[in-house]
């Protein structure tokens, strides 16, 4: 089975984000493999261990993004492709999907795995767009995965429970955090990653129209999230429990 896992190199979410105009500064800051993508890599590796085949990582990003790909290779992926091009700075989710689709179409694939959304941009629209561009079905928000009789069958997280959905290959699948427990890279894996095939491409090496690489989205304003306000302190006059329950109901928690 040819498994593609889309991964993203993002600024370390544990450090304060640095802005570069209306964009998140990506170059020269400490980056990591998007923690959400670790679940995708793990899902790919488990399917490969079960069914055989190959796991290929695909990413779009600055040259520094190869760190994220190395991390995935250390975990056990077989090879990696990085599409890196100055013209892609400020690409939106649609452009990203077009670039990844073009890269994925260069070879045969059975399954494309992605996280539900990135931990920096959070648009969550890329995987669905990618499935449309590849012309294959998509299974999203998966929390459990199995393959039987040559079909992919997943549990799909919904607001009030889960749905069981299945489809044939090839397809796109997005995984939630919690679908598995990503493995740690061993030292052997880290050493082996150095020797695995690593391909870096520019957009000119992909079959994609130059116009399709221009972002259609324009960021007109960026503002900071409102600082969290101090909580409300209610002295317990015997009605404490009721007031807490009312508060939680208003917050739609219970």
């Amino acid at each position: 089975m040819n498994i593609i896992v889309c991964v993203k190199h993002i600024p370390d979410p544990n450090l304060p984000g640095v802005m570069d105009g209306f964009r998140l500064k990506r170059e020269g800051v400490q980056g990591v493999l998007d923690p959400g993508d670790e679940f995708g890599v793990e899902a790919g590796l488990r399917l490969k261990e079960e069914l055989g085949g190959e796991v290929t990582l695909v990413s779009m990003g600055p040259a520094q993004a190869q760190e994220a790909l190395r991390r995935g290779l250390s975990m056990g992926a077989d090879k990696a492709v990085l599409i890196s091009d100055d013209s892609l700075r400020g690409a939106d989710a649609l452009v990203t999907a077009r670039v990844l689709a073009a890269a994925i179409k260069r070879g045969a694939f059975d399954l494309v795995i992605a996280g539900v959304e990135s931990t920096d941009g959070y648009t969550g629209t890329m995987p669905a767009t990618l499935a449309e561009l590849l012309g294959v079905p998509q299974l999203t928000f998966t929390t459990a995965i199995e393959v039987s009789d040559g079909r992919l069958r997943v549990r799909r997280q919904s607001a009030d429970g889960y749905q069981v959905v299945e489809c044939s290959f090839p397809c796109v699948m997005t995984v939630t955090a919690g679908v598995n427990e990503p493995r740690y890279a061993s030292f052997k894996g880290i050493m082996a990653a150095k020797k695995k095939p690593f391909e870096q491409l520019s957009t000119s090496e992909l079959e994609v129209e130059p116009d399709a690489l221009k972002p259609g989205q324009e960021v007109v304003e960026v503002s900071l999230v409102e600082q969290r306000k101090a909580g409300e302190v209610l002295p317990d006059d015997g009605q404490g429990a009721v007031r807490i329950a009312t508060f939680l109901k208003e917050a739609k928690v219970i």
Partner: protein, 385 residues
């Protein structure tokens, strides 16, 4: 001069840090209270290949440098000294003598499971009546008429000797006399051999969930081929192994000290007295600065010793210096961390309490501070007393 770790070592260190935070930190306190080696944690460490790091790939290892193993030990010791010493002793005392002095047959038989972390082994040198003094060895091994060693005696404080996956203990024993002196050889005793009894675990001051036992041998018979290394070389060979072990113990001590610095930093940020954060008091700032200083110097000293080894240069003195300095500052730094924590430092919910108990043994195990000073003095050319 290049003081950087390789990019692979840096990545490995990061991975170790997140593994320790996720899989060890949440349990360290309760493991310590239970006082039993947590075998599921050992299995997770084995899954990461930690027990095989420095062994050749032909035995299932990763062929890494000693420093890489030290990085793993340091990261674990920031949080849990018992598991750090379990790894250190498994590699340095259990498996390494087989790699260094074993026959091809012995290596093929024992190393793959040890490197995989599927089995553990111990080394028995110390006896109830003597540790640092080789001449005090009383355990005997007589080659019987049936071509088997008959072992009698006892060993004390043997790490990893009684775990559910311990496969053998290598012991030193008197096998005869040569030029009027005791001839000491190393012999492999598989666990389960009749006459080999594993005593109850010790009630230790620290290292509570590291597995340590007294061992007794009563007419315990093993095949002649279980001799490890040349006959009469048992003690000498063991001393050669200890140089590497000292670098690893220094790494463990540095990890403990760093753990104390980290805990103290986070504590002083959160605690207030006299209307302000206690982190603003110079008295505590100076204390923490000194703790960090000592920790960093100790780290440089074990890095240097490991580097000298990798360069194929002499490192005995530097290894002894690293072990001596790192273990002594670990005790000091842990004591200061408890002081910074005040009353909370004296209760078990705070990690520094455990770190303080765990620190002391570092000045004793794998060569006492006194032996380290003697060794350094010898390396400086000073005469034997």
């Amino acid at each position: 001069m290049d003081l950087d770790l390789s990019s692979e070592q840096q990545e490995f260190q990061k991975m170790m840090r997140s593994f320790v935070d996720d899989a060890i930190r949440p349990h360290a306190e309760s493991w310590d209270r239970d006082g039993e080696l947590p075998m599921d944690a050992v299995a997770q460490m084995a899954g990461l290949g930690l027990f095989g790091l420095v062994f050749p790939e032909e035995y299932g290892g990763s062929g890494a440098e000693l420093l890489t193993l030290c990085l793993a030990i340091e990261e674990i010791a920031r949080v849990d000294s018992s598991l750090a010493i379990t790894l250190e002793a498994a590699v340095g005392l259990g498996a390494m003598p087989i790699l260094r002095f074993g026959t091809e047959g012995q290596k093929a038989k024992w190393l793959p499971s040890l490197a995989a972390g599927a089995a553990l082994a111990g080394f028995g040198l110390t006896e109830p009546d003597g540790g640092s003094d080789a001449g005090a060895t009383r355990t005997t091994a007589r080659l019987g008429d049936d071509g088997r060693w008959v072992v009698n005696g006892s060993k004390a404080f043997i790490t990893n000797s009684g775990t559910p996956i311990t496969s053998f203990v290598t012991i030193t024993a008197i096998t005869g006399e040569r030029d009027g002196r005791k001839e000491i050889s190393a012999i492999i005793i598989p666990n389960g051999t009749p006459g080999f009894e594993i005593g109850r675990p010790y009630q230790k001051m620290g290292w509570h969930h590291s597995d340590t036992h007294e061992l007794a041998f009563n007419d315990c018979r093993v095949p002649e081929e279980n001799l490890l290394g040349a006959r009469g070389e048992g003690f000498k060979n063991f001393l050669r192994i200890l140089d590497d072990g000292r670098i690893a113990i220094a790494a463990l001590a540095v990890g403990l000290a760093q753990g104390c610095v980290d805990e103290s930093l986070s504590y002083v940020h959160g605690r207030s007295a006299f209307g302000r954060s206690i982190g603003t008091f110079q008295a505590l700032q100076f204390k923490i600065a000194d703790m960090a200083l000592k920790t960093d110097l100790a780290r440089q000293s074990f890095y240097r010793a490991a580097w000298l080894k990798e360069q194929g240069r002499s490192y005995r003195k530097e290894a002894a210096m690293a072990k001596l300095y790192a273990s002594e500052i670990a005790v000091e730094v842990a004591r200061d961390a408890v002081q910074i924590h005040g009353g909370y430092g004296y209760i078990e919910e705070f990690a520094v309490c455990r770190h303080y108990r765990d620190a002391k043994i570092l000045e004793i195990g794998e060569g006492t501070s006194e032996i380290m000073r003697l060794l350094i003095a010898r390396e400086l050319g000073l005469p034997e007393g």
